[in-house]
Amino acid sequence: MRPALLALITLTGCNRYILFNQAGYEQASFSNVADVLFIVDNSASMLEETSDLGLNFNTFIDTLTSAQGAAPVTETLTDAVGNYVVYTQERGRFLDYQLGITTTSVDFSGQTPDAVDPGEAGLLIAPPLQKGDDGLADAFRYDLLCQAGYWNAGQVPDDPAYTCDQGTPSVISKQYLDCVCGVGAWEDNPQGSGAEEPIEAALMALCRSVDDPPEACFEATSPFAGSEAQQNEGFFRAEGSVVVVIVTDEGDNSRRMPQGEQDPAEYLEAFASFPKPVKFAVIGPAMDPETKALTCPSTAIPTWSVDRLQTVASATGGFYRPIVEEAASDASCVPTRFSDHLADLGDLLANLVTAFQLQSIPDVTTIRVWVDGEEVGASLVTTDEESGTTTTGDGWTYDSAQNAIVFWGAAIPGYNADVDIFYRPLDGKPRELPF
């Protein structure tokens, strides 16, 4: 018996293969379409952060706004050439985005699943806002501050000197909210669930956005079953990518994972069942990913709940930024600059058409890139010693600051191109492998 067992082990175990990480999937396209979903924590501890998000939203919009308006002018050949130059050099201007908001609350306030209110269980607060809509930034600010955010009237500052014609203030006050939302209307916003489930909320939002929800949407514990008639009409478009922006000061308690489980593999597989890629940009609790030390936690946050958020961000090629930090002057806890986070978000969206994020730090010498089945070589970068200017030839370069592959010149993939990037990671596999 022993020799036969040894022989069987020998047969099955001997072939060894080097593993390459792959960025870009078969369905991925360099498309200019991006559906951006904001998942906002509407619990009582989020007053300062919600205010910062609303006050700095213009930064995000400015990164994506075309100087020529919502669409390029193409009446003449000169316009077309000019637009091509702008297209290759400032591709963010041509991004076709739409915005939706919901909250981290998955529990619903009604008695039955079909009593889900806007903002609960992934249902959008309002119909999606489209690029080019009149007053886009103001409309987003209204949805965020007046419908999604929770305000404890006793904690919102009072500024009797503020009048509605003064524009956006530096600090949100009762008077400002009265101007934006209507007198006292903001005081009725319900407080969100104490169990924040941003990842589950994102999944529910996508389930409500497609005509044929995948099987993962009908999990027994999910409120989607029984309320699937309530749809996020028009949010999920056929092309491009979905970018989920989570803003929360606590970790994730999504119900499909047991308490203590830090690997969101089940959710990553669920998001992978949708027909286009989903990226996560998270502004969440400050935790060192190596030491798991929390900085300025608002409450006792289990580290595994933050680990989940950091993992979905890195696994999907997005980013993770801390929502609070210690002030340099006196080590007190202060909110981080939302203007910086929103600028990063704008860059992420713009780079959807220029740069491809990698999940791990690569061994640069092992990077291989294919576009539509044709291999693309690395760019030749030359520096003029006299003028100091750098010229990057056709091809790709690796940007260590973004941990991304950036395309240049004629090698920039066209819309709907399939991009495959292979590399060996320097720091091993980011997750447990299924063998």
């Binding site: 020998t10 047969l11 099955t12 175990g13 001997c14 072939n15 060894r16 293969y17 080097i18 593993l19 390459f20 990480n21 792959q22 960025a23 999937y25 593999a265 990553l268 597989e269 998001f271 992978a272 890629p277 696994a315 999940q359 010498t365 092992t366 291989r368 294919w370 089945g373 291999e375 495959d420 292979f422 596999k429 997750r431 492998l433 299924p434 063998f435």
Partner: protein, 226 residues
């Protein structure tokens, strides 16, 4: 002895005579009713074999490969023969491969797809056996082992499509089940032990040890002298 003599005599009287059994008439026996068991009915000495086979290579960590082969063997004696084998196949991604390359993991193994293979081997078949099947049929079969040289042509499954020519050795075991026509059904397990060079990993490791284990079932046309 004298003490036991009466007992012995009594036993002799009571026993039935061994030679005086009644005969049983079994009727007329025709030649076709007689099956010769003791002879080697399907000799290989001086014979040649042309065979086709289909099979599978299921043991790789990331691929599973259907394949087919064409063989020609020449037997130098009842025990020894030489053979050449040409095979072709197409490796498919197995469930582990597909799970790794899914967005949940985003990993591609640098696995190589089997395309075609060649082998030349020496066969030693010391066993010629007969099996009584349910008391009604006698199956003649042999058992053999083989050893020789092999080479495969394989292609990287990643988009670079690197072609690798991989030489090595081959070992295996098998059985031929002989049919009344003299041909045989041949079942074989063969392991090709190869050295494979892979272009994308030349900086860390260029040559890898690879095993292609194939289980095949085929039909052998036997041509015997005389």
């Amino acid at each position: 002895m004298i003490r036991f003599l009466p007992a012995l005599l009594l036993g002799a009287l009571a026993s039935a005579p061994a030679s005086a059994q009644e005969t049983v008439d079994i009727g007329l026996i025709k030649n076709k009713d007689v099956a010769v068991v003791q002879k080697l009915l399907y000799p290989k000495d001086g014979a040649s074999e042309l065979g086709v086979a289909v099979g599978w290579m299921p043991f790789d960590r990331f691929t599973t490969t259907p394949m087919a082969s064409l063989r020609y063997a020449r037997f130098l004696s009842e025990e020894w023969g030489v053979e050449v084998d040409v095979s072709g196949g197409w490796s498919l991604k197995n469930a582990t491969y597909k799970e790794l390359e899914s967005p949940a993991y985003g990993i591609q193994p640098d696995a190589y797809r089997y395309l075609t293979g060649f082998a030349a081997d020496l066969q030693w078949s010391p066993i010629y056996a007969k099996t009584n099947w349910r008391g009604q049929r006698v199956l003649h079969h042999d058992v053999y082992a083989l050893g020789g040289i092999a080479a495969t042509v394989e292609q990287a499954m990643m988009p670079d499509g690197d072609i690798a020519f991989s030489p090595g050795a081959t070992v295996g075991v098998g059985m031929r089940f002989y049919l009344k026509s003299g041909d045989a059904i041949r079942v074989q397990l063969r392991d090709d032990l190869l050295i494979q060079r892979r272009a994308k990993t030349e900086d860390v490791q260029s040559a890898f040890f690879k095993q292609n284990v194939a289980l095949t079932v085929g039909w052998s046309f036997m041509k015997r002298k005389g």
